[in-house]
Amino acid sequence: MRVPTKPRRLMVRLVWLVVGLLFVGSFWGLDLEWAKIGELPSDVVHYFGLMFSDPDWSKLPEALFQTWRSVSMAWVGALLGVALSTLLGIPAAEGVGPIWIRLPLRWLFAVIRAVPEVIIAIILLTVTGLTPFTGALALAIGGIGTHAKWTYETIEATPTGAGEAVKAAGGNLLQMVRWGLWPSASPELMSLGLYRFEINVRTSAVLGLIGVGGIGDMLTGYVQFRDWSVVGMLIIVVIVVTMTIDAVSGRIRRRIMEGAKSIELDRIV
């Protein structure tokens, strides 16, 4: 009996070794105080008690007003971002733009994706100041990175038949995009636009940390004052508002996508 020689898989072992070393090594740089981990559960219980045993609801109107600012920031950021992403994302799709337009655009999206919204906001601060507008602008620009990528991927996944028909009838590129691609891609793009809004609602709270206003700003303030009962109330507000928006927006998105599918049913009914 001749048994085939067992493959050595040297590379695989080497990769595992490196990954293991990286895992262990990463703890060294962090200066972890292992002794404190033991105290963690009791600390958590202590602060949870401070925050949620008796939340301070007297600041609720102010919290709601700041939430409104955050949501507005998210909405304006989403609208601007989605509009820009659509304009830039469609030419970046294969079959629409030539390669010398596609590649620079995709490179631009990748660079934007690599920069977190907070960093973009910090850069914008120097020009537009500590205003919610800065936040909205940061969300819009930051949104281009992912949303434009989703846009060109959606356009590329769209069936090409209708576009071919527009070309065959003598239509130009714009007409091909408008009546060949847009009708079948738009429900998905609208749904992704709403999803972008949901993401922005969460990110806008983070942007508050650097002082552009909104619920995140208020939260940072009260954490610094160590006013835990207000912090507790704010956290409840953030969670309730975010979950509500997610639920409503998610339902609308489902409606849009089902509407796109149910056309086939029109015929039967």
Binding site: G161, A162, E164, A165, V166, K167, A168, A169, G170, G171, N172, L174, Q175, R178, W179, G180, P183, S184, S186, P187, A260, I263, E264, D266, R267
Partner: protein, 275 residues
């Protein structure tokens, strides 16, 4: 382009000074970027007003050939002439204008399912409409008239405001024919127009194409893979196999042996549609 007044009745093209266009392929070769030679040195001459079928199995090059005629696929070598135009030299706006004179229908109908039937047929007027107007879906009153007339001529006028996606396959192909007719073309190309349809609907669509040829006088070139459809509806048949013309003659009297030469294998039951 010949002077023409808009059709004043459904089957009205012959009343005006309408002249259909001949099609000429001279040594046309198409080699795709991946190296596949889809069409190998094909020369053909189709007279104005002829009803011609192009028969071959899938992969024989018939889709490629029909697309060289409106420049959707560029020829690697050779020249394609349609009426007064040399398609193989046209670029940009001139090419789009030629396409405006050549109607085309497809196996998969190629409609925008989520747009209205009206908007879909209006695509046929794009070659003659300012881009900004088409972006907004606007149309001149003449174009609107042409669209409604084209829909009426295929019996689909009542569906004009419905969504294209809500229609059956046969209805969709009729909308696609209306879209091509609204171009007021000189030539009609059809790429496997009935391959996605059930037999009765297939015969109805073939009859529509036949009427476009006999009543409007258009040159019609239709890709088919079924022998009985080619025999019944077309007068001349061109057989393609592996990118080369292996048959060119009358369709009605083509023998089973002729079809076996085109297919490169014995006739099978799926080569016929039946009634």
């Amino acid at each position: 382009m010949p002077e023409r007044t808009p059709h004043t009745e459904v089957e009205g093209a012959e009343s005006s000074a309408f002249v259909a266009w001949p099609i000429e392929l001279d040594g046309v070769t198409v080699r795709y970027p991946n190296g596949v030679v889809a069409l190998n040195n094909v020369s053909l001459s189709i007279a104005a007003g002829e009803m011609v079928s192009v028969v071959g199995l899938s992969g024989s090059g018939k889709s490629t050939m029909i697309r060289t005629i409106n420049g959707l696929v560029p020829a690697t070598n050779g020249t394609v002439t349609v009426g007064p135009h040399t398609v193989t030299t046209l670029r940009g706006k001139a090419l789009r204008e030629l396409r405006g004179s050549v109607g085309m229908i497809f196996q998969g109908f190629n409609l925008a399912d989520r747009a209205s039937v009206y908007q879909n047929v209006l695509v046929g007027r794009f070659a003659h409409t300012a881009t900004w107007k088409t972006m907004l879906g606007m149309a001149s009153s003449e174009d609107r008239e042409i669209v409604l007339r084209a829909l009426d001529s295929v019996g689909m006028l009542e569906k004009v405001w419905g969504r294209a996606g809500a229609l059956s396959g046969g209805q969709k192909q009729r909308i696609a024919i209306a879209r091509a007719l609204s171009q007021e073309p000189e030539v009609m190309l059809a790429d496997e127009p009935v391959a996605s349809l059930d037999p009765p609907t297939a015969h109805a669509v073939m009859t529509d194409l036949e009427r476009i040829n006999t009543e409007r006088g258009l040159t019609v070139l239709v890709n088919l893979h079924l022998m009985d459809l080619a025999r019944q509806y077309t007068t001349r048949m061109i057989g393609l196999r592996a990118g080369e013309v292996v048959y060119d003659g009358p369709a009605t009297t083509a023998t089973d042996a002729d079809f076996e030469a085109i297919y490169g294998r014995p006739i099978q039951s799926r080569d016929r549609l039946g009634k």
